[in-house]
Amino acid sequence: LDAFRLTLCEAMRKIHANELSPSDLLESLLKRIEELEPKLAAWTIIDRDKAKEAAEECADEASEGRFRGPLHGIPVGIKDIYCTAGLKTTAGSKILADFVPKHDATVVARLKKAGAIILGKTETTEFAAFDPAPTRNPWNIEHTPGGSSSGSAAAVSSGMIPAALGSQTGGSTIRPASYCGIVGFKPTYGRVSRYGVIPVSWSLDHVGTFTRTVEDAALLLEVLSGYDPMDAASSILPVSSYRAALDEISPPRLGLVKEFFYDMASEEVKRNLVEVVGQLSNAGAKVLEAKLPESFGAAHAAQRVVMIAEAAAYHEETFRTRMMDYRPKMRGMIASGLLIPTSVYLKAQRIRTQFIREVYETLPKFSCLLMPSTPSQAPKGLESTGDPNFNTPWSFCGFPAITIRSGLSRDRMPLGIQLVGRPFDEETLLKAAQWCEVTLGLGHAPHDPE
């Protein structure tokens, strides 16, 4: 077996049992990258030398029975909006072309503390907004992998790395994960520190993860979550043992959201959803229709107002002197945000209050909500990263969301289902997701691009 095919948890177990050397794992991943990167363009930097050095140290420690943490000797990829000490962090922009941070983002430091090796930085749309990255979809290189976490999704899907960090302000984790047929997970707002992450929008930005299994997503959440005094929005609420919770899974109670999500979906997505609901129901899940609250009608527009106004506030100073160094969509977004009236921004935030409360009142009836992850398969072409409208409401309310692969379209592109849980109850959400993953039984092998 080629080591690059291992999931994060499989690699962890093999390394801890001394059945796999971190150096061999790294070598296998580098070989895979060498083969696929020219086609997929998922990475901005690959830190080969430092990664090899770190893998050798980890291999020596493992042979002596010493392990730094659960991710001992496992390479991971980091979206290029996370600060990495000594490693260039460009956010896909000319503005930060030469920025080399002195410190790690909190989550990068937590990954290192858990033993992970930072293999490199993955491609992002400019400042995690709309101007696309050069990355291609491993399932068909003529299609977008989605964005903004384009490189992380493509790298994990194709087996260049077992796990990678992304982020989500609108649909930047769930959408690319679904387009690339893997697991994308956005924990509750405040669950994972955003300190050291270049912001799009302070009140909407979430850390996200890309893996090939739900169990891997649970492992990463254990490593990444917990209070961080450096992040003003970090929660002090207790963190569970998410992987242990997956030992006991049972059929969930799913709230199927047909309104909007079914109506706006392509015929293929609708067909897939009907099939999936049938499979899950036959296996014992209780699937009941969930109604959207009235405030859902304004959620997309309000999210957009908040996002562009906050992005403009963050970039205002640089924009004054370097406007033409931003790419066209980013330039337009910042300019638009600077023109949003304060009263409109505050009304959008008031709509948000109502939306959060109303969605929260819907959730106790269910383990989680169920809907398609995206309105269609990954669109053809690289000029757009696709439609985030199935994801933005859940970024707006800050509730946790996860996508798993649910099938393939007629032209063999992945489709996904999205599950949305109660705030700070990632345990229930992950259990439901794993039950669905096992029931659908689609496997977790990396995709081999043609």
Partner: protein
């Protein structure tokens, strides 16, 4: 029709201010994003929101989760 007129008025206002600040050529290049912003502004402006609703703060979902834990 009335909706389109309202949206168009917002867009014209954004375009005018953008042209004043950054010049007409650049404002025209930003048209796609200004249209998106105008649509979002219009939708937010026309939305009804309860008079008791204050602007959202991150602490709100922490409080909801706390309530959930207490229950």
């Amino acid at each position: 029709v009335a909706e389109e007129v309202e949206k168009s008025e917002i867009l014209m206002r954004l375009l005018r201010v953008a042209a004043e600040r950054w010049g007409k050529t650049i404002a025209d290049e930003m048209l796609e994003m200004l249209e998106i912003a105008a649509d979002a502004i219009w939708r937010v402006e026309k939305s009804r929101v309860g008079s008791g609703e204050e602007p959202a703060q991150p602490e709100m979902i922490f409080r909801l989760a706390n309530r959930n834990l207490e229950q």
